[in-house]
């Protein structure tokens, strides 16, 4: 039961970090080739990969603030992961550059000739224009990075023994911070993803992205926790009760994901308006339709059924496995959300360029490397020392 040699999670992290940097660099290099060979495809795939990896730092930002406001042991268990993830936001701002440069490849409203022929796009021009797009992106990143910095500083003060005062300050930031995050993320989702199909609109769109970010963050942090659980310093501190809470939260977010997506779908499906349905028609036919069914089955039904069980929710390894699976499904979901937007007509064939894979590991590798570096800068967990009482309680 007791392993004589205590494995240190920090060492494993270091190994992973080195691998991640190498893989990331290779991925970026391959994506660089794509940039020259097919700029359009590269930019599109890059956008998907970028939005995928952006979800974890932003979700961390939001969940941290939520945790400061509501409390709960689950937050302590993943607090360090989230704090490190938040600090990677400047890197993601850097990864946004190819999107800013490739705007013309992504958004038809940047084409003057298209806009000249399209009354609706002319009407929307005060919002959908290149300058506004860039300025807003700057504002979004400023808000997020600023919030992350404020929270980081507050957390540092708390760690240094700031006590109740530091906590109160964190809460004071978190309330308005969540409001700002919500607004910024909503408009970021509109700008970066929704406006690829500039005629279409859905008022719940921002919320769908926000829920997705929360789910991705939970899956990522659960996966990491499950990897760290049996080594120092988490061993003995990460209790089944924490795992159970995290499992319940992931379960809740799986349900929320299904809820917001179903709401959007059934409202558009039932009303059956010509300006709204094309978005779903594209995504419900042919190969994209198969992806949609896969999402229902594997992004919702399977995790829902598995996570119903209390035993599963308390099993660290099993929950980690499900979390890894959910991270994969998040990618499928994003590809399904954004991929069909580039096709025209309601029966557009499914098309995913190979550079999705290179961009995905490229951004992801570098991101994870930086994340691991950030993680190592601070204590690896904020969970308290093992407490015999708590251990006893946790066995029920």
């Amino acid at each position: 039961m007791n392993t004589p040699v205590a494995i240190d999670f920090g060492q494993r992290l270091e190994r992973w970090r080195n691998v991640a940097f190498v893989v990331g660099a290779l991925g970026l290099a391959a994506s660089g080739y794509a940039w020259f060979s097919d700029r359009t495809e590269f930019t599109r795939m890059w956008l998907i990969a970028f939005l995928y990896w952006l979800a974890i730092p932003l979700g961390s930002l939001a969940l941290s603030m939520l945790h400061y406001l509501t409390g709960g042991g689950w937050g302590l268990a993943i607090q360090r992961w989230m704090q490190a993830a938040m600090r990677t936001l400047p890197l993601l701002a850097l990864f946004f550059v190819p999107i800013a440069l490739g705007m013309h490849e992504l958004y038809e409203w940047t084409h003057a000739d298209v806009v000249a022929k399209d009354e609706l796009l002319q009407f929307k021009a005060p919002y959908l224009n290149s300058t506004g797009f860039l300025v807003r992106a700057g504002v979004f990143f400023a808000v997020w990075i600023g919030l992350a910095a404020l929270l980081g500083a507050g957390a540092k003060r708390f760690d240094a023994g700031g006590g109740e005062g530091a906590l109160v300050r964190l809460r004071t930031i978190s309330g308005p911070g969540l409001v700002l995050y919500f607004l910024a993320m909503t408009f970021a989702a509109i700008d970066w993803a929704m406006s690829i199909e500039p005629h279409w609109f859905s008022t719940i769109y921002g919320v769908v992205f926000i829920i997705g970010q929360g789910l991705a963050t939970l899956a990522f942090t659960i996966l990491l926790s499950s990897q760290a659980a049996d080594s120092a310093p988490l061993k003995g501190r990460l209790l089944p009760v924490h795992v159970h809470d995290l499992g319940k939260l992931m379960f809740a977010f799986v349900l929320l994901w299904a809820y917001v997506n179903y709401s959007q779908f059934v409202i558009i499906w039932s009303a059956n308006l010509a300006e709204e349905t094309p978005w779903y028609l594209k995504r419900m036919h042919g190969a994209w339709g198969a992806v949609a069914i896969t999402l229902i089955a594997l992004h919702f039904a399977l995790p829902f059924l598995v996570l119903l069980s209390k035993t599963v929710k308390r099993n660290t390894k099993l929950l980690g496995g499900i979390a890894a699976f959910m991270l994969l499904m998040r990618l499928v979901d994003l590809v399904w959300y954004i991929g069909p937007a580039f096709g025209h007509g309601t029966h557009a064939p499914m098309h995913v360029h190979w550079s999705l894979a290179t961009s995905f590991v490229g951004i992801g590798g570098i991101w994870f490397g930086v994340f691991a570096t950030q993680l190592k800068n601070r204590p690896l967990t904020s969970l308290p020392e093992p407490d015999p009482h708590a251990m006893a309680a946790a066995h029920h």
Partner: protein
């Protein structure tokens, strides 16, 4: 626990006053029910509420006699007060389930002293809500046609209609809320049976307690069932107001057809529901001297929930307004302009004042600690949420696609009478409830008493406020 270092969210106040034991909790709460002496305030309140019930009966009688023409509804506003008040009441009901179920799942101990009361509020609010659609169908004696049963018409309800989803959602909600409430009451009914002095009351409470005797096996199944009910009620409560929002959103009316409607309706329901809980809890804790059980921490937490859900609701308003423009649809654009500047513009701005501006005061902890201010804000929110439904229903319908059929909606005195009547009914039931049943869950309050013998309280974690000793240990 109270003497341990502050673990609560902001105020750090405990969820139960100091110095309580199993016996004192049991005695103090059951005394309210079993005591022969009834506070005079109760009689006055019940009397006023009965006046309201009288108004209700008159309004329903008048309506049945003359038909729906006595209401202000007509083309183009065919929904009017009936649906406004229905949604308003259903929304209020939601806080009860939320407090009971979701907070139980989240192990928020502060729920314990207000859950029973909030569940009762849910039940009564759903009853009041049910009055409106039943009467609005025009021939309420045929309302059972809404249910699928093998009828002589050989046909079935239309399952593609959100109005039918509503029938299922609301009736399921009413049933499950009643079950949840009753199951929660069983051990307390046994407590009252054991405490009651007269044989008649012993028998009444005894029959209702179903012979509960607190056996360990029973408790085990009971707690499992209660936890499962909470787990089931949580998605249910979300689904109910989602379905209510579908009533509007799956249509094609500008101002109704918006995909943000489900989450924003759910948030709005919680918003108004918590406001109603505050509206009721503040006077009741005063009248019945329950300051030890409904503490400042409860009020503070409820205020925070109101603030949070209020912000979500306002997010919904903002999205509607932005997308009305962004959609580029002339109908959507006209809808929002008409909402703001049309003949009902006053209601939109009043709504913004009540739901957006006034709740911002709750950012201040000083306001949250001021009971009078909390009470006032709660009332304002109740009004604001009523206005929200008014705005959605009336301004969207009165000017839709066809300018030739534009019109105005003026509620009649019978619309108002029915609305006031249901408020009377609500308070009437509530007064009966607080007199004859324990308004605070006795057995759950007992679990909050430190050192029940099961295990000593743990120290709170750094920030973790909620995972208290009883939470993980007792709940499955």
């Amino acid at each position: 626990m109270s003497s341990a270092k502050p673990t609560g969210a902001a105020s750090g106040a405990p969820v139960i006053g100091p110095g309580h034991s199993l016996a004192s909790v049991t005695d103090q709460i059951s005394k309210i029910v079993l005591s022969r002496q009834t506070p005079t305030g109760w009689f006055i309140g019940l009397g006023v509420a009965m006046l309201g019930v009288g108004v209700l009966i008159t309004a329903i009688g008048w309506l049945l006699w003359w038909g729906l023409g006595v209401w202000g509804i007509n083309q183009p506003v065919g929904w009017g007060f009936a649906i406004i008040n229905f949604v308003w009441w259903i929304g209020i009901g939601h806080a009860g389930t939320l407090i009971s179920a979701i907070l139980l799942l989240l192990k928020q101990e502060w729920r314990t002293s207000i859950n029973r009361f909030a569940e009762a509020m849910t039940l009564f609010a759903v009853m009041c809500a049910g009055v409106f659609p039943l009467l609005h169908v025009g021939r309420p004696w045929l309302a059972y046609w809404l249910l699928p049963y093998p009828n002589t018409m050989g046909m079935w309800p239309q399952f593609r209609s959100p109005l039918l989803w509503d029938v299922f959602a609301v009736s399921t909600y009413a049933t499950v809320s009643a079950l949840f409430w009753y199951v929660g009451l069983i051990p307390d009914l046994a407590t009252l049976r054991d405490r009651a002095k007269s044989l008649v009351w012993k028998r009444i409470y005894g029959a209702l307690a179903l012979g509960w005797r607190g056996a360990a096996r029973h408790w085990e199944r009971y707690e499992t069932a209660y936890g499962l009910l909470a787990g089931l009620a949580t998605p249910l409560v979300v689904s109910v107001h989602t379905v209510v929002s579908f009533d509007f959103a799956v249509s094609v009316i500008p101002g109704w057809h918006a995909t943000i409607m489900p989450p924003y309706f759910v948030a709005g329901a919680i918003f108004s529901g918590f406001a109603m809980v505050l509206t009721l809890a503040i006077p009741i804790r005063r009248i019945f001297g329950l300051e030890d059980f409904i503490t400042m921490k409860h009020l503070d937490n409820m205020a925070k929930v109101i603030l949070a859900t209020g912000m979500i609701v306002c997010y919904g308003y903002a999205m509607e307004a932005f997308f009305a423009w962004y959609s580029g649809s002339p109908y959507e654009r006209y809808m929002i302009v008409n909402r703001m500047l049309g003949p009902y513009g006053w209601s939109y701005w009043a709504l913004i004042t009540c739901n957006l501006l006034v709740p911002q005061l709750l950012w201040s902890s000083a306001v949250r600690r001021n009971i009078a201010a909390l009470f006032a804000i709660a009332i304002v929110v109740n009004v604001g949420m009523w206005l929200e439904r008014f705005v959605i229903v009336v301004t969207s319908l009165h000017r839709d696609y066809l300018p030739s059929s534009w019109g105005m909606y003026y509620p009649t005195v019978w619309d108002w009478a029915l609305y006031i009547g249901t408020i009377g009914l609500f308070f009437f039931l509530l007064f009966l409830f607080i007199r004859f049943l324990p308004m605070i869950s006795i057995f759950e309050m007992r679990t909050l008493v430190p050192a029940t013998g099961e295990e000593p309280p743990k120290k709170g974690l750094h920030i973790a406020a909620s995972a208290g000793p009883s939470g993980e240990a007792r709940r499955p």
